[in-house]
Symmetry: C2
């Protein structure tokens, strides 16, 4: 019987519904990924997380580990790959887990979902969830990695000052103006 | 008595500790910001969220609204400003709330924390939390905004294919290779 970080699949999916809003297939697959990564770390290690996509997977990490976007222990670098790493927070040593599409052959609905081959309305949802649960960590690849030094350790943030453009405080080390005054598109001009 | 989205401050800070790991000052300030933004939206409106910083504030949004990073209803564009917007998910019409440092004069500990003028160990933590709770939404600025069209609506994701570099699936619309093979620094080379 597959479990996810000590939860039954049902209990885990209830946590998913509460936080993520709906029982998404990506959260079920992601749960097995977090579980596998944790099993490959030394017990009790204090780890940070790196997520390679913004879609679904960050929520599996936020539900199952102490790492969140807002506390800085979860960093997202969007490579577009469905992969995550858990790593020791000072050395960057850790494990990376990815969904290995080459192993999805025995799970046609899972494979079709992963490659987005069919619109959502044509998916067989029950079968998809059953296949993901059945496959569990068996379709995940796991490797030891050392996370790039730029992603290891806390960004202390540094001094903030009012931006000369808008007057709102921002961390001065990021440039002469805040990101909005430097041109990031945020709000439509009136 | 200040409340935060219907919670007493104590109850809200218990939710914060559970999700964020510790009762951070930024989460208390952020709670008042989310509360104020929600009060300025039409009742029952189905909204998305935009957060202008990765520090603390995304977790206040993830605790108090249905919007999370993984479900795509919370987008983060890091301008460095302590600000958020809640907006109607199709039109982008909504409200932006920011912490208005010009109003922090009566709250010296709050002001010193916000501008990071003293190292954490020199902060008077109890006084800081008391000042943030006392100030509540009174130090927040609120404006109507229309969020940039590029940030409105769901990114459907598009087709994924194996990356010719690493073989892992990624959304082909993002380029000829996945972000990692395109050069994003993630893992140290052996």
């Amino acid at each position: 019987m597959n479990t996810i970080c000590g939860h039954s699949i049902e209990d885990y999916m209830a946590l998913v519904e509460r936080f993520h809003g709906h029982p998404a297939p990506g959260l079920l697959a992601g749960g097995f990924m977090v579980d596998l990564a944790k099993k490959n770390l030394p017990d009790g290690e204090f780890f940070d997380a790196l997520c390679e996509t913004k879609v679904c997977l960050p929520d599996a990490i936020q539900i199952l580990t102490p790492c969140t976007v807002g506390n800085g222990w979860l960093k997202i670098v969007d490579t577009g790959r469905f992969a995550l790493a858990l790593f020791e927070k000072y050395t960057g040593e850790g494990v990376r887990v990815h969904l290995d599409a080459g192993r999805l052959g025995p799970y046609p609905e899972y494979e079709s979902w992963f490659f987005r081959r069919r619109p959502k309305r044509e998916q067989d949802r029950d079968r998809l969830m059953r296949e993901i649960a059945e496959a569990g960590a068996g379709v995940m690849g796991v490797n030891r990695v050392r996370v790039d030094a730029g992603l290891v350790g806390k960004n202390s943030g540094g001094k903030t000052e009012p931006c000369p453009g808008c007057g709102e405080a921002y961390p001065v080390e990021t440039g002469a103006r805040c990101g909005a005054c430097a041109g990031l598109p945020l709000y439509a001009r009136p």
